[in-house]
């Protein structure tokens, strides 16, 4: 697996991280090494407790400003921390959505009051957040959002439906993209509202996903209410705010993702060795392809991290990374199943999936969320290659 040196200036910091992890990643937490993912709700309670442990140690929001409870550290420290964190195998943070998406959005675009109000509670793991963007009629084409919000005195009143909201059942708050100008179309007239879920006007229902969990939900707003000042960015500028979140360069999470792929690749080779599949030429070829794809991801990710650390805008490789990784990860999952043979079909009672099964099924979603592969290709075609734009909406 990838071993990195980060230079003398962060050696002390790195030691501090390692020591803390060694001391705290014990007991139940250690038993849940490698568990969870951005859309994987496994062992939720343990992971939440682990997040609180991290919070108490001051390890959440490393790069966030001190005045809101962050540590105000630089990107290099963040990268070092996430790398060591991933190497330790610590569980995937349950509060990932707030830490990776909402928090940075608030810091970049929120009002002073919003930052004071929400950031400390994110860092204290007191409030959990869900993303309410997609709707039954608006997925890749997010600008088709129809959920409406109207001002009634000092409150917004929301009506409409969101769908595929990850961890909606656990969320205390949702950040919701909705139409605040009833006469507007597409990107105009949208706003980003922060909406509390604990109220009669919000109904959240679980949707069972292919990976066998209820982390997926649909959210119904029926005269749901939120305070008039809980708009992130300007009213009517929700599209800009939303694109801001989607565009946040998650430089610090690139290496952990890479380590996860490398672990999976090592496990796949081990499985192949156990099953004697290394002698089958077809399996060997597929294993080689998989291994090469993971090495290419490594090169790509390291290059992007280096560029970010040098303060440069990442090159074209960063734009292609998601498409490449998600597609190859899916292939890897199928290969593992094939190598395992019939035994790969066996689940535990109650549809209990093992790591490999879960990884394969979740990989099916990786080519869909965060910009489906087809949309990624459009972006690469237009932004990187300068090809003519996709036909405009009819």
């Amino acid at each position: 697996m990838m071993e990195l040196q980060f230079g003398a200036e962060v050696e002390d910091f790195r030691d501090e991280v390692r020591t803390w992890l060694a001391e705290h990643l014990v007991g139940e937490f250690a038993e849940h090494r490698g568990v969870g993912g951005p859309t994987d709700g496994e062992a939720w309670e343990v992971r939440l407790a682990w997040d609180r442990e991290l919070s108490a140690g001051g390890w959440l929001g490393l790069g966030w400003p001190r005045e809101y409870g962050g540590r105000g550290l630089g990107l290099l420290e963040e990268i070092v921390f996430e790398y060591e964190y991933a190497r330790s195998g610590a569980p995937y943070r349950a509060t990932g959505n707030a830490l990776d998406l909402l928090g940075p959005m608030l810091i970049a675009m929120g009002s002073e009051e919003q930052k004071q109000r929400f950031i400390p509670r994110i860092l204290a793991v007191e409030e959990l957040w869900g993303q309410g963007f997609s709707e039954p009629g608006a997925g890749s084409d997010l600008a088709s959002v129809r959920t409406r919000a109207e001002l009634d005195g000092d409150e917004w009143v929301l009506n409409g439906q969101k769908v595929w909201t990850t961890f909606g059942m656990q969320a205390d708050w949702l950040y919701v993209l909705c139409r605040t100008d009833p006469d507007s179309t597409r990107h105009k007239g949208l706003s980003m509202l922060l909406v509390p879920t604990d109220q009669p006007g919000v109904e959240i229902r679980p949707i069972r996903s292919l990976a066998g969990q209820d982390e997926f939900t649909e959210v119904f707003f029926t005269d749901a209410r939120t305070r008039a000042d809980l708009v992130v960015g300007d009213v009517g500028q929700g599209w800009r705010t939303a694109m801001g979140t989607l565009g946040i360069e998650r430089g610090a999470t690139l290496l952990p993702a890479q380590l996860a792929y490398e672990r999976e690749m090592d496990a796949l080779l081990e499985l192949a060795r156990e099953r004697g599949a290394l002698t089958d030429p077809m399996h060997r070829r597929s294993l080689l392809d998989a291994w090469m794809s993971v090495r290419i991801m490594r090169t790509t990710n390291l290059r992007t991290v280096a560029e970010l650390l040098q303060g440069r805008t990442p090159g074209a490789q960063a734009t292609t990374a998601k498409l490449y990784a998600s597609t190859n990860h899916q292939r890897m999952g199928h290969l593992a199943m094939q190598i395992e043979g019939a035994a790969g079909q066996i689940v535990a009672d109650g549809y209990g999936l093992d790591v490999r099964q879960r990884s394969l099924l979740i990989s099916l979603a990786e080519t869909i969320y965060g910009g489906a592969s087809e949309v990624q290709r459009n972006i690469i075609g237009e932004k990187v290659l300068g090809l003519p734009r996709d036909p405009k909406p009819l």
């Binding site: 997609s134 997925g139 088709s144 094939q338």
Partner: protein, 383 residues
């Protein structure tokens, strides 16, 4: 060359399609899968239509149906779900094998019980440590004069846990070497003392269900031996090609239905003001898929034609199974991409299709084993 179906074949296909629409549309198959249910009406319905006796000769109580006709039925059933197709194929194949090699009494049993749908057969060949290398099986049947004493363990016995089912069990009656010698086929009543059946929880294929079967000092009467003792490898091979070809029919039906469903979804679902099917990236992917499905179908039909002529089709049967199963997996994967969030919800038929498809390239002989067979027919011996 003539690609047309006869009027009778067209009628058979229409009947089968209607049967699926009435008895087991995909949404219902999905429910059965989720409830681990095997509905009586399914087997009864197939028996009433005469499908369990179709391939037998007329003088044996059948209709002299050809392999192509069996494919047509399997294709239509596969449109419901591949598991549904296996409810048919899984009984038919051991029935044909037993009838072909069996004693007079066994033939009467097949004719009166199995062809009429009153009773079913399941196959127990694989063991925990022998899958692709099936001939290495170890379950032991000791000759005790008028009976065999069976000890050992089988795995993946699909349908073996259902009521009114006899398990066609491959056992070792002779020495381990040479491994293809010394194997025999016994008809075993799962209610016999010493047999324990445990359902294996799996990702998919919950309608028929698959099982481990444990044998502890199980007494099996000698008259339950099918074909010559120690020569069951030959017995098993005698219908292997037909099995591959009909199974391919099941894959084809499932793949075609998967494509039809995503096609419909892509015509209804709007993004950026147009049906998503009009985006070339999806349209071409679906065009490629239809091409793949048609290639697999032609391979299967050719193999069926060879079988009907009494010609060997080891290579052609393997090609059909390889292409058919791989195509079904590809179809389901594309279906998940096209249906996106919708597909990822277990409410969608597409998620059911995908779950079912994963194992297609493993069960019934893995893709690697098919490739080995094809390569061997080309004079290449892979290691």
């Amino acid at each position: 060359m003539d690609f047309a179906l006869t009027d009778e074949q067209e009628m058979l296909r229409a009947t089968a399609r209607q049967f699926v629409a009435d008895v087991c549309p995909p949404e219902r198959a999905k429910e059965w899968d989720e409830q681990h249910a095997v509905p009586r009406e399914l087997f009864e319905g197939m028996a009433e239509l005469g499908w369990f006796s179709l391939p037998f000769a007329e003088e044996d109580g059948g209709d002299g149906g050809s392999p192509l006709e069996l494919i047509l039925i399997a294709e239509e059933l596969g449109r419901a779900s591949f598991d549904i197709a296996m409810c048919y194929i899984g009984v038919l194949i051991p029935g044909l094998t037993t009838f072909r090699w069996g004693s007079e009494a066994q033939r009467v049993f097949i004719r009166e019980q199995v062809m009429t749908g009153r009773h079913r057969l399941a196959v127990a060949m694989s063991e925990p440590d022998t899958g692709s290398d099936a001939a290495a099986l170890r379950t032991q049947a000791e000759d005790r004069g008028d009976h065999y004493l069976v000890n050992g363990q089988k795995a993946w016995c699909t349908g073996g846990g259902l009521p009114d089912t006899t398990i066609a069990t491959y056992v070792r009656t002779g020495p381990r070497e040479p491994k293809h010698g010394g194997i025999s086929l016994l008809l075993v009543d799962p209610k016999t003392e010493g047999i324990e059946i445990r359902r294996t929880p799996t990702l998919a294929r919950h309608i028929l269900g698959t099982n481990e079967v444990f044998f502890k000092d199980v007494v099996v009467p000698k008259e339950n031996l099918v074909g010559p003792q120690d020569e069951a490898w030959k017995v098993m091979l005698s219908n292997l090609e037909l099995e591959k070809v009909i199974i391919t029919g099941g894959y084809l039906g499932a793949a075609q239905a998967t494509l039809d469903e995503m096609l419909k979804y892509s015509q209804d679902r709007q993004a950026f003001g147009r049906p998503i099917g009009t985006f070339q990236s999806l349209a071409h992917a679906m065009a490629d898929l239809q091409t793949e499905i048609d290639s697999a179908r032609l391979l299967a039909y050719r193999a069926a034609w060879l079988l009907a002529q009494g010609k060997p089709c080891t290579r052609e049967g393997s090609m059909a199974k390889l292409k058919g199963s791989e195509t079904y997996v590809n179809a389901a994967r594309l279906g998940m991409q096209v249906c996106a969030g919708q597909g990822f919800s277990t409410e969608s038929v597409m998620s059911f299709r995908y779950r079912e498809s994963i194992v297609a390239t493993i069960s019934g002989g893995t893709s690697q084993i098919q490739r080995n067979g094809i390569a061997r027919s080309m004079g290449l011996r892979t290691y």
